[in-house]
């Protein structure tokens, strides 16, 4: 494949197996906590994986809540997805890595089931419940089993846990050599409140403004990721705060197949527009139609910009009134991304 060839559409199935979690972070994007007991049945999850495999999905992500609270069924589902040749990812807070032995045992079993990638969620909120040392032990065990490892760190302006904190942690320095440290992908991601009217302080240049909006890409989650919550609701993306956006809810797992759910999302122009340009550019566009719409400097996490887009009646009105002017642009951009095959003349 050449670098400027058409780009295949991404297809990810994200299963929030349980919303129960050992942590209870403030602003948790999925409203998870130790008290929430909702749980997707293993039979349903297995059926969804089968459908995804038939529908050319590429990745199955197991998340939550804390997916390791799902018990043996998690390992069975990872094995099922791996048998289809699908890439598999688990997103965990590493509560289970209290010792080297427990970390090695859990990761070893996941790797044996066919897991390819593991992401750890951490930061100041998560660390109130799960110490950084657990994440380090879990990352160590994951590298031992040749898994891809990512550490996602909550980011606000004032915080104690950063990528540097990890790199300088005595345990981290002790258990990883220089080359191994480079194999761990750290992502410092903005931490966002679910309330669109509540704003956190972020490091400089993290919140989107007219000066940095050119760096905003389309949303790679909406439509491309079909998300199933533990209570059976199916979402059009894996974004934070989706539970409070009715328009991103596609139905229930019993209402149709994974393919049908994806089709519902694809039939909505707004979701395709968000996928093409991202919610930040749409807010910026809406502000050109209604100058009372303020957006600059408010959103570091694009999911919060998306919550605003869907919850602010002023923005909704502009979209409803003027969206037709964007239809051909978005369709053309999609076509250029995924379909266009230039006809090149034969060399003389």
């Amino acid at each position: 494949m050449e670098i400027l060839d058409p780009i295949p559409e991404a297809r990810v199935l994200s299963l929030l197996l349980t919303l129960q979690c050992t942590a209870e972070c403030m602003h948790c994007g999925t409203n998870s906590s130790p008290r929430v007991k909702s749980r997707l049945t293993e039979a349903t999850a297995a059926r969804l994986i089968d459908e995804a495999a038939q529908a050319d999905y590429h990745v199955i992500a197991f998340t939550g809540g804390e997916p390791l609270l799902y018990g043996q069924s998690l390992f069975d589902l990872v094995r099922r997805a791996a048998r289809y040749g699908l890439a598999t990812r688990v997103v965990s807070n590493a509560y289970w890595a209290r010792t080297d032995d427990s970390a090695a045992r859990i990761v070893g079993a996941l790797a044996a089931a066919g897991l390819k990638e593991i992401n750890f969620s951490t930061g100041d909120q998560h660390a109130r419940f799960v110490p950084m040392s657990n994440v380090i032990r879990a990352a160590r065990a994951s590298l031992d089993h040749k898994l891809k490892v990512a550490v996602m760190i909550e980011t606000v302006k004032e915080r104690s846990i950063t990528r540097e904190t990890f790199l300088n942690d005595p345990l981290f320095v002790e258990v990883f050599d220089g080359a191994e440290r480079e194999m761990i992908y750290f992502c410092e991601s903005p931490w966002m409140p679910l309330n669109p009217n509540q704003y956190l302080d972020y490091p400089d240049n993290m919140a989107v403004t007219a000066d940095n909006i050119e760096q905003c890409t389309g949303c790679d989650s909406v439509i491309n990721t079909t998300t199933v919550l533990a209570d059976g609701r199916v979402m059009a993306c894996c974004g934070l705060g989706t539970q409070q956006i009715p328009e991103l809810q596609l139905g229930n797992v019993d209402d149709g197949s994974v393919t049908e759910m994806r089709s519902r999302a694809e039939n909505d122009f707004l979701k395709r527009w968000i996928r093409c340009e991202g919610p930040e550019r749409i807010l910026q566009w809406a502000a050109t139609k209604d100058t009372a719409i303020a957006w600059e400097g408010l959103y570091a996490h694009r999911c919060q910009a998306c919550v605003r887009l869907y919850s602010d009646e002023a923005v909704r009105s502009v979209i409803r009134e003027h969206y037709e002017e964007k239809i051909v642009d978005v369709l053309a951009a999609e076509w250029l991304t995924h379909t266009y095959q230039p006809v090149q003349p034969v060399e003389a």
């Binding site: 058409p6 992908y185 750290f186 039939n267 340009e277 969206y323």
Partner: protein, 198 residues
């Protein structure tokens, strides 16, 4: 904020029918050319849509022209190869943090820009190339030069977007990056971008 109105799902036939028709029409090369030459007119004629000549329409037309341009494709391929072979700190980085670190080095940035300048020499006039050599960084979207699309690749996409963790170093030159850059081009700049027509 006022209370929310009815559901904001834009899935009526006014969209879905047009989407199907658009895909069908775009299968014909002659229609493709017509569309990108004047998207507003085609939108009105074929889809009954009133569309102003927006920046996004221009950017799509520019991407269409560039992707179909043999010389541009060759340049992109060569430039990607150059980065892979000459900038191990970028191409061989295990993660984005290391790419960001590498690009913080002025020496690396300067080398990258120099390599870029030399790689576009075949695509641009000698006079333009000479002008570019004097430019190392900055918001080049404000430069009114025929080279703007190529220049923004390196300074906006490669240096800024990759350094900010937005772009994947393995996909520095890709369709999505071309589109990302093209959306930033002003009308005056877009008018000056030219392709070889081959």
């Amino acid at each position: 904020m006022a209370s929310k109105s009815t559901s904001l799902v834009l899935s009526g036939p006014e969209f879905t029918t047009r989407a199907v028709n658009f895909a069908h029409l775009m299968a014909a090369p002659t229609f493709q050319k017509q569309f990108f030459a004047d998207p507003s007119a085609v939108a009105a004629r074929e889809f009954g849509l009133k569309v102003t000549a927006s920046a996004a329409s221009r950017s799509n037309a520019m991407v269409f022209a560039l992707l179909g341009d043999k010389q541009f494709n060759n340049w992109a391929k060569d430039f990607q190869t150059e980065i892979d072979t000459s900038f191990q700190s970028i191409a061989g980085a295990a993660n984005l943090s290391d790419v960001q670190k590498a690009l913080k080095s002025k020496q690396t940035r300067d080398q990258l820009v120099a390599k870029f300048n030399s790689s576009v020499a075949q695509h641009l006039s000698a006079e333009t190339t000479a002008k570019l050599s004097a430019i190392n960084k900055g918001p080049l979207v404000s430069e009114g030069d025929v080279a703007i699309i190529l220049l923004t690749f390196v300074v906006v996409v490669v240096v800024v977007a990759v350094a900010a963790g937005v772009a994947n170093p393995a996909e520095i030159v890709s369709r999505q990056q071309v589109q990302l850059v093209a959306r930033q081009i002003t009308a005056a700049q877009a008018a000056k971008v030219r392709t070889s027509g081959r």
